[in-house]
Symmetry: C2
Subunit: 303 residues, 2 copies
């Protein structure tokens, strides 16, 4: 296995992000609309505001790169890549609401409800979530649609991301056990990262429970958790400017984090071990070293 250099990884991420941004801009034309329905301009504006806010597009990049790695065609991956980014974006809009995390800023810009009001923000999110399934269903191969919708809805729904967000809110009112904390993150962020690699595999026609499918699922679970552990560490150690958000926020709201159970050194060692496990799981399919470089990048081991 070769090791992809940092610059090459970043260039690849940017190229994939460009593809996704372009496809997202054209999202209403990607679906063969049959009805006479209209998306009101303010709704599209609010959705575009959040979709084009400069995210790193990690999840859609995973869909595209895994699809290519398994011999699939990028054009089959692209609608699924858009779908997962739309679901990620809706989750950020709803998480930022006053009754949830009550954030005024995201990526340096006013959050959706600050810019458009709460009602439009909630509906922008509802629309993005629903339209994501319309995009996922746009593939002409019925079997791809069936598998993709199952993976996406399971990962994003009550037994996935939404359930994780409910656990996260509970974690602000009582101390969670370590098992509960692991379950929370497996659902709140892990499930969608896992769905990303699986959607890439589905787009490439990879069978479920093949060795590659299992390896990718392990990889995604490990990098998702490692990312969260590092995030908790950075919340207490990093420079606020570098972090792009206020420091010490978790402690201020008395949130259960990995630092409730581990020292900073232990947590960093845990994240390193998870990253190593992720990388070895996919060693036999990661010919370019892309997945390794991405795992190291997300665990902040390369800058």
């Amino acid at each position: 296995m070769s090791i992809m250099q940092r610059n090459e990884l970043l260039q690849r991420l940017l190229a994939d992000a460009d593809l996704v941004t372009e496809a997202l801009s054209a999202r209403f034309s990607l679906v063969n609309s049959q009805g006479e329905g209209i998306c009101p301009p303010v709704l599209k504006e609010a959705q575009d505001y959040s979709l084009m806010a400069g995210g790193k597009r990690i999840r859609p990049a995973l869909v595209i790169e895994v699809c290519k790695m398994l011999g699939g065609d990028v054009k089959d991956a692209l609608p699924l890549a858009c779908a997962i980014e739309m679901i990620h974006t809706y989750s950020l809009i709803h998480d930022d609401l006053p009754c949830m995390d009550n954030d005024d800023l995201r990526r340096g810009k006013p959050t959706s409800h600050k810019a458009f009001g709460e009602a439009t923000a909630i509906l922008a999110g509802d629309g993005l979530l629903t339209d994501a399934f319309l995009l996922a269903a746009s593939n002409p191969r019925a079997e791809v649609v069936q598998r993709a919708v199952r993976v996406l809805s399971q990962a994003a729904g009550s037994m996935g991301m939404v359930g994780g967000q409910v656990m996260d809110l509970e974690g602000e009112t009582r101390r969670l056990s370590l098992d509960e904390l692991l379950q929370l993150h497996a659902q709140k962020t892990g499930a969608l990262i896992c769905a990303a690699v699986q959607l890439g595999a589905i787009a490439a026609g990879e069978a479920e429970d093949s060795p590659a499918w299992k390896a990718l699922t392990t990889y995604a679970n490990r990098i998702g958790l490692a990312f969260q552990v590092v995030d908790d560490v950075l919340d207490v150690t990093a420079d606020a400017a570098l972090l792009g958000k206020s420091k010490g926020k978790d402690k201020a709201v008395n949130k259960t984090t990995f630092l409730t159970y581990y020292t900073v050194e232990e947590a960093q060692a845990y994240a390193d071990r998870l990253t190593d496990e992720a990388v070895s799981a996919v060693a036999s399919i990661d010919h370019e070293g892309y997945l390794q470089a991405l795992a190291e990048y997300l665990a902040k081991r390369i800058y």
Copy 2:
């Protein structure tokens, strides 16, 4: 075409509602869950609270009855019937929020955000919407899943119901034209009723654009609009107790309604004409007179 009596219609509605309620209670076991995800108890409780609040289950009844009418099997219709009821229920939870219609009561019970708080209410809705697609994807026939997800997501998304809700909120701040009002209702309530008959047809394996498909679509469009026109009339004429909600609410918030453009008599005549058009569209397939009786019932012509 025979005419179904009021009692027979009501009995049929109750029987279908029972089927749907039972299937909704078992919704997490209907899907072949592969992950290790958990739906947190409070999330399930909040979802059940709204799902079991005693709605008439008109949309799922349409899925089931249309499927049977076209020679399909109820067991194929049931997951799709549940999916559409879950989407309808999520839309009510979000519509009731303080930043939207700000309703404290629905069907005589505290609204979801009053009973569980705003954050849980929003997430209960998000989860119901997402899980609806998981149910829709549970059918073993990939082509049914592909068609059902397309119809559902188009009807519920930004170019459907969510777009309609945005238009509805706009209608509180400025006077809508009659065309805008028609578009609003076509999307806010019409699209999901239309999806209900189409899902029934899809479950029965009916081809798109067959005469039956077109007839059912016309029927659904007409009864959806007639129902809304009658609703606007009742808001000014009906007894508050009978209505189950406060009277004159539309006028109080200066909302554009059909009575902005029609007198009560004109509006009633319009609803009657729409109901007649609905009934004649499906005359050749409505052998039991079920669709006719339902149309009359929704237009409040039979009590």
